[in-house]
C-alpha cells in the first residue's frame, strides 16, 4: 500500500480517536492517545535510527573474537541428541527424547544446513 494511502488512513483514524475522546470526555486532551502514539513512534524512530544508531553502530567484527555467528550450530536442534552426551561432559545420562518434536514444519528438511529433522 502506498505511503499516501497509509497516511490518509492514519489521519482518518486520528479524527475518529479525537471524536471518541470528546464523547467519553475523560482524556487529558482530545487526541492524547494519538499524539503520544504517533509522536512517540516518530520521535523514537528518528532519534534511534537517525541519530543514536549511526553514532554507535559498528561492523559485526568490531570485537573480533566475539563476532556474532551467522548460524548457532550448538543451539540448532539441540534436543535431537542427548544434551549431555553431545558435549561429552557427563556420563550416565539417559537418552533424551527425539519424539517430542512438534512437527512445525511438515515440509521437512530438504535444505537443512546441518543436522536436520
Amino acid at each position: 500500500m502506498s505511503l499516501s494511502v497509509r497516511i490518509a488512513v492514519t489521519a482518518g483514524l486520528v479524527v475518529v480517536g479525537v471524536v471518541a475522546d470528546i464523547v467519553v470526555g475523560d482524556s487529558t486532551f482530545p487526541g492524547y492517545g494519538a499524539t503520544i502514539g504517533l509522536l512517540g513512534c516518530l520521535g523514537l524512530s528518528l532519534i534511534a535510527k537517525g541519530a543514536v544508531g549511526p553514532l554507535l553502530q559498528r561492523r559485526e567484527d568490531y570485537y573480533p573474537a566475539d563476532t556474532p555467528p551467522e548460524f548457532h550450530d550448538d543451539l540448532y536442534q539441540a534436543h535431537l541428541a542427548d544434551p549431555d552426551a553431545r558435549h561429552g561432559d557427563a556420563p550416565g545420562g539417559g537418552h533424551v527424547t527425539g519424539d517430542t518434536a512438534a512437527g512445525d514444519d511438515p515440509t521437512g528438511g530438504a535444505d537443512a544446513p546441518g543436522g536436520g529433522a
Binding site: T10, L38, A48, T97
Partner: protein, 568 residues
C-alpha cells in the same frame, strides 16, 4: 525451627546438588519438583514468620516472610517451573545445576531478613548465574560469562563494603529502609549495578544473549528483579531513582530500536522495563511500591515468554539475527501466536498482564503530580510495543518477502522441530499472562499494600488502546525504514572490552616512534604487559576449566573459614 525446614531455598539447593548426580530422566523430575516444592513452602509459611540464627557474634534472620518478600518469592518459584519445563530437553547437567542454584540464590535474597544472609545469597546468585552463561560452552559465551562475573564481583564487593560499613556505624544488620549515608550509598550502588541501571547495565545485554536458549530464560527472571526487590526494601522514596529509572527505560527502548540480534533486542527491553520498576520505587508511595512489585511479577512472566519464543526460533533455525530471519509465519505458527501473547502483554494491551501492572506505576506517578513522568512512561510503552510487538515479529516471522517461505535475505531458512516441552512452558506463561489480565485481583491480592485501584475503566482502556493503535499505525507508515542492519552497538562495556586494546596500541605506537622518555617508556611497557596478561585469558585455558579451578579454591577457602569460625 520447623519453619527453617520450610525455607524455600532448600528445595533449590538440594535439587541443584541432586540433579548433578541422578540419571537424566530423574533429573527432569527434580528440575520441576524443586520450584513446585518451594511454591508449596511459600504457601505454607505465614506472613510474619521470622527465623533467627546466631552466627559468630551476629544475630541473623535467615528467613523473613512478609508482604514484600512473598510476591517476589512466588514469582521466582513460578519462573523456575516455567524455565525448567522449557529447558527439559535441551539443558545440560551442569547448566541445570547452575540454574537451580541461581534460582535458589535469588529466592534466598528475597527471604533474607538481615544484610549478611542477603549478601551470601546475593553472591551465590552471582556465581551460579555466571555458570548458567558458561554452561553453553562456546568461546563467545565463555568470554561474556567472565566479563559478567567481573562486573558482578565488583557489585558484590560494593555490597559487602556497604554492609560492613553499615554494621560498624549502626551496629545493626537488619535489612530495612535505609537513610542516606555512605554505607547505604554503597549498597545502593550494588543494587543499581544488579538492576542494570546505566551506565552499570552493559553486562546484561552483553551476557544474556550468549547463554543457551533456556539459560537466557532463567537469567531474565532473577538478577534484575532481585535487585528491584532490594531497592523496594531499602530505598523506596529515594528521588534519584525516579530519574535513573525513567532514563534507563528510555535508554533501553532506544538501543532496542537498532539492535539486530533478537535475544539482545529483548535484553535491552529488560533494561527498559526494569526502569519502570526503579522509577516506581523512586516515587515510593504505597501505590508505587505495589506498582513496582506487580510489574516485576508480570514482567517475569511476559519476558520469559518473549525470550522463549525467540529461543524457539533460534532452536528451530539456528539463527538469531533479525536480518537473516523472516518468512516463518506459516512454518512456526504456534511459536508466533505464543510470542505475540507476550508481546501484547509487555506492551500493556488491556486484558493482558502488562496493562494491569504498568498502570499501577503510572497511576502512582499521577498521584504525585509527576506528569512529565507519566508522559515519558507512555512514550516508553510506545517504544516497547514498537520493538517487541511490531518490529521484531515483523522481521522474524514476516519481512518484506511476506509470510513465507522466503526469508529477509531471499533464501529459504530451514525450520526444524520445536520440542513439546518448549510449547508447554510457553503455554503456561501465556496462560498466566492472560489470567492476570482478566483477573487482576489474583495479583493485586499478593501485593505488599492493599490495592484500591480498578484498571478497567472506559477512559483508561480507551487511552491505552489508542496509544497502541497509533503506534501500530506509525509502524505501518515507517516500517520500510525500520529494518535493522547486521551490526553491533557500542555500549558502556566498550570501556573494558576495547579501551584496554586502544591504550595498549597507543602506548606501543608511542614507543615505536620514540616519543616517550626512557623512564616513562619503561612504565608504559609494564602497563602494556599487564594489559596483555589480562587479555591472555582470551587465549588461555577455556574459561570453564579456569572457573572450576577458581571454584574449588573458593570452596576450599570457605570450608576452612567455616571450620575456623566453628572452632573459635
Amino acid at each position: 525451627m520447623n519453619e527453617l525446614l520450610l525455607h524455600p531455598v532448600l528445595p533449590f539447593l538440594v535439587g541443584a546438588v541432586l540433579i548433578s548426580r541422578v540419571p537424566r530422566r530423574v533429573g527432569h523430575v527434580v528440575m520441576i519438583a524443586a520450584p513446585l516444592v518451594a511454591l508449596g513452602q511459600i504457601a505454607a509459611l505465614d506472613t510474619g514468620t521470622s527465623v533467627g540464627l546466631s552466627y559468630l557474634h551476629y544475630d541473623l534472620e535467615v528467613l523473613r516472610v512478609d508482604a514484600l518478600s512473598t510476591p517476589f518469592g512466588v514469582i521466582f518459584a513460578i519462573a523456575g517451573v516455567i524455565a525448567g519445563v522449557y529447558g527439559l530437553t535441551v539443558q545440560r547437567r551442569m547448566e541445570r545445576t547452575a540454574a537451580l542454584a541461581y534460582a535458589g540464590g535469588a529466592i534466598g535474597v528475597v527471604f533474607a531478613g538481615d544484610l549478611l544472609t542477603f549478601f551470601v545469597f546475593w553472591e551465590i546468585k552471582a556465581v551460579a548465574s555466571t555458570f548458567v552463561i558458561l554452561a553453553r560452552g562456546t568461546p563467545v559465551s565463555g568470554r561474556a560469562g567472565m566479563r559478567y562475573l567481573f562486573v558482578h564481583i565488583l557489585g558484590g564487593k560494593l555490597l559487602l563494603a556497604g554492609v560492613l560499613l553499615h554494621h560498624s556505624q549502626t551496629g545493626s544488620l537488619q535489612f530495612t529502609g535505609f537513610e542516606v549515608t555512605a554505607a547505604s550509598s554503597l549498597i545502593l550502588a550494588a543494587c543499581l549495578l544488579s538492576a542494570a541501571v546505566p551506565p552499570l547495565h552493559a553486562w546484561l545485554a552483553d551476557a544474556y544473549p550468549t547463554a543457551s536458549v533456556a539459560g537466557t530464560v532463567f537469567l531474565s527472571a532473577y538478577t534484575t528483579k532481585a535487585a528491584v526487590y532490594a531497592l523496594a526494601r531499602g530505598f523506596a522514596g529515594f528521588e534519584v531513582l525516579i530519574y535513573l529509572g525513567i532514563a534507563m527505560a528510555l535508554f533501553g527502548v532506544t538501543y532496542a530500536m537498532f539492535e539486530n540480534d533478537i535475544r539482545r533486542l529483548l535484553s535491552y527491553h529488560i533494561v527498559s522495563q526494569v526502569g519502570y520498576m526503579v522509577a516506581a520505587v523512586g516515587v515510593g508511595t504505597e501505590l508505587a511500591v505495589n506498582g513496582a512489585t506487580a510489574h516485576a511479577f508480570a514482567h517475569i512472566l511476559y519476558k520469559a515468554l518473549l525470550l522463549m519464543g525467540a529461543g524457539a526460533v533460534l532452536h528451530a533455525t539456528g539463527i538469531s539475527r533479525a536480518n537473516a530471519l523472516g518468512g516463518l509465519a506459516r512454518r512456526m505458527r504456534g511459536v508466533f501466536v505464543l510470542y505475540m501473547v507476550g508481546a501484547v502483554s509487555i506492551a500493556g494491551f488491556p486484558l493482558f498482564s502488562g496493562f494491569i501492572s504498568k498502570e499501577l506505576s503510572v497511576e502512582a506517578a499521577y498521584g504525585e503530580q509527576l506528569l512529565w513522568l507519566v508522559i515519558l512512561m507512555k512514550v516508553v510503552a510506545v517504544g516497547t510495543f514498537l520493538s517487541t510487538g511490531l518490529k521484531l515479529p515483523y522481521s522474524t516471522w514476516f519481512g518484506p518477502e511476506g509470510a513465507g517461505p522466503s526469508s529477509n535475505t531471499g533464501a529459504r531458512v530451514h525450520v526444524g522441530a520445536v520440542p513439546v516441552t518448549m510449547f508447554v512452558a510457553m503455554g503456561i506463561s501465556a496462560g498466566l499472562n492472560l489470567l492476570l489480565g482478566l483477573a487482576p485481583g489474583l495479583l493485586y491480592d499478593l501485593l505488599p499494600y492493599p490495592v484500591d485501584y480498578t484498571p478497567y475503566s472506559l477512559a483508561k482502556v480507551l487511552e491505552t488502546s489508542q496509544v497502541l493503535l497509533f503506534t501500530g499505525l506509525g509502524f505501518w507508515i515507517l516500517h520500510e525504514r525500520l529494518g535493522t542492519k547486521p551490526k553491533v552497538s557500542l555500549d558502556t562495556d566498550w570501556t573494558y572490552r576495547r579501551l584496554p586494546h586502544v591504550v595498549a596500541n597507543a602506548t606501543a605506537q608511542w614507543q615505536a616512534a620514540g616519543a616517550t622518555p626512557a623512564v616513562m617508556g619503561a612504565a608504559l611497557v609494564r602497563i602494556r604487559h599487564a594489559v596483555a596478561r589480562r587479555f591472555a585469558v582470551v587465549h588461555g585455558p577455556t574459561p570453564v576449566t579456569s572457573m572450576w579451578a577458581l571454584g574449588s579454591v573458593v570452596l576450599a577457602t570457605s570450608v576452612l573459614l567455616l571450620l575456623m569460625s566453628l572452632s573459635s
